[in-house]
């Protein structure tokens, strides 16, 4: 009897410990184009950290990042070729790709989105015809 009560109690704590509604930093981008399917955690990109060090122009004009979450189709092969993140994350300007967990740090199964965006905060479902939904694998 005590054992089952204990299991129930543990279950209660498990429910309490579940992550509550996400309240991450504004403009954090979760990129999960291919990560989940490849058995990796999705990537979390913190805009706040990067904008303290670089202006938007560096990535969005020089490196060709599109203004669209998941729209750049970034793969590790492109990164080690020095494209996208690999333009800086190469062990010279910033730490290199062997630090897998620093980027691949999101909760598995999280879809590609920008956390805390206005569209996300709308109470009613948004009109979908203007924008194609992001294709998830």
């Amino acid at each position: 009897m005590y054992k089952s009560a204990l299991i129930g109690l543990l279950g209660m704590f498990a429910v309490l410990a579940l992550p509550q509604a996400a309240h991450a930093e504004y403009a954090d981008v979760i990129i999960n184009n291919y990560a989940d399917a490849a058995g990796m955690r999705p990537v979390v990109f913190p805009h706040w950290y990067h904008r303290i060090r670089f202006r938007c122009k560096v990535c969005h004009a020089d490196l060709g990042f599109k203004f669209k979450a998941g729209g750049n189709k970034i793969t590790m092969a492109k990164i080690i070729d020095g494209k996208f993140c690999g333009a800086c994350h190469n062990g010279e300007i910033s730490w290199s790709v062997e630090n897998c967990g620093m980027c691949h740090s999101g909760i598995p199964g999280t879809p590609t989105h920008i956390d805390g965006s206005t569209v996300q905060r709308l109470v009613a479902p948004t009109y979908k015809a203007l924008e194609k939904p992001i294709q998830q694998k």
Partner: protein, 220 residues
């Protein structure tokens, strides 16, 4: 054996009940205010659609999108540490990034290799007259060119020509035009940020245009 199962069910029910009350912790019962009881009470909760108050700048392991099981998450810098001393705002990251760059609190690079490269700043305000009663919009190129390059917006998002761009709030809220950045990464669209763009008051003799319906059948 039976008692074992019953106690297990009771324990699980208790757990669900407690976790249920925990989930509604956003609206705690106020002292002296009677909470409605009975079947319909949960349908008539106060602030039904207002999401829970955001915890400001939590460290990555507690922010709800990082996986705390990943050891590297605990190495990441907590935003609150980085934001210390930066000019504050009341939305987004709770940091006024434009003031931070203007006041020299941060010095982000304009070129990824060379920290001495200065941005190509253009000081030109564009005034957009708003049809309705909201103050007119002043678009400052200066603050935008501090961060961005001309090619980021022109000509794909905004045609660089007078009266060539149709912009409205619905499009912006859905992520078009200004909404490509604002509402996602640059300051968000809330009632607290309207006046950041709608900043030029209407002339003193300005009156809202009357709708066609009220012109056809005026109110007596």
């Amino acid at each position: 054996m039976k008692i074992k199962y019953i106690s297990l069910i009771v324990a699980i029910a208790l757990a669900l009940l407690l976790s249920g009350s925990y989930a509604f912790a956003a609206n705690p019962p106020v002292k002296g205010v009677k909470t409605p009881t009975g079947k319909v009470s949960s349908a008539n909760v106060f602030n039904r659609l207002l999401k829970k108050q955001k915890v400001r700048n939590p460290p990555p392991p507690e922010d709800g999108i990082h996986d705390p099981a990943d050891a590297a998450v605990h190495v990441l810098q907590p935003p609150a540490v980085a934001f210390e001393g930066l000019p504050k705002s009341v939305f987004g990251n709770y940091v006024d990034w434009v003031k931070a760059i203007e006041g020299g609190y941060i010095k982000p690079r304009y070129d990824r290799f060379d920290p001495t490269v200065e941005p190509l700043v253009m000081d030109l305000n564009i005034v957009r007259v708003v049809k309705a009663s909201m103050p007119d919009v002043v678009f400052p190129h200066k603050q935008h060119t501090e961060w961005l390059h001309c090619s980021n917006c022109h000509p794909k998002i905004f045609i660089p020509q007078h009266n060539a761009n149709v912009i409205n709030m619905s499009a912006i809220l859905l992520g078009q035009k200004c909404g490509v950045c604002h509402g996602k990464v640059s300051f968000p669209i809330t009632t607290k940020s309207c006046k950041k763009c709608h900043s030029k008051p209407k002339p003193a003799d300005w009156k809202p245009p009357k709708s066609e319906a009220s012109l056809k059948t005026p109110w007596r």
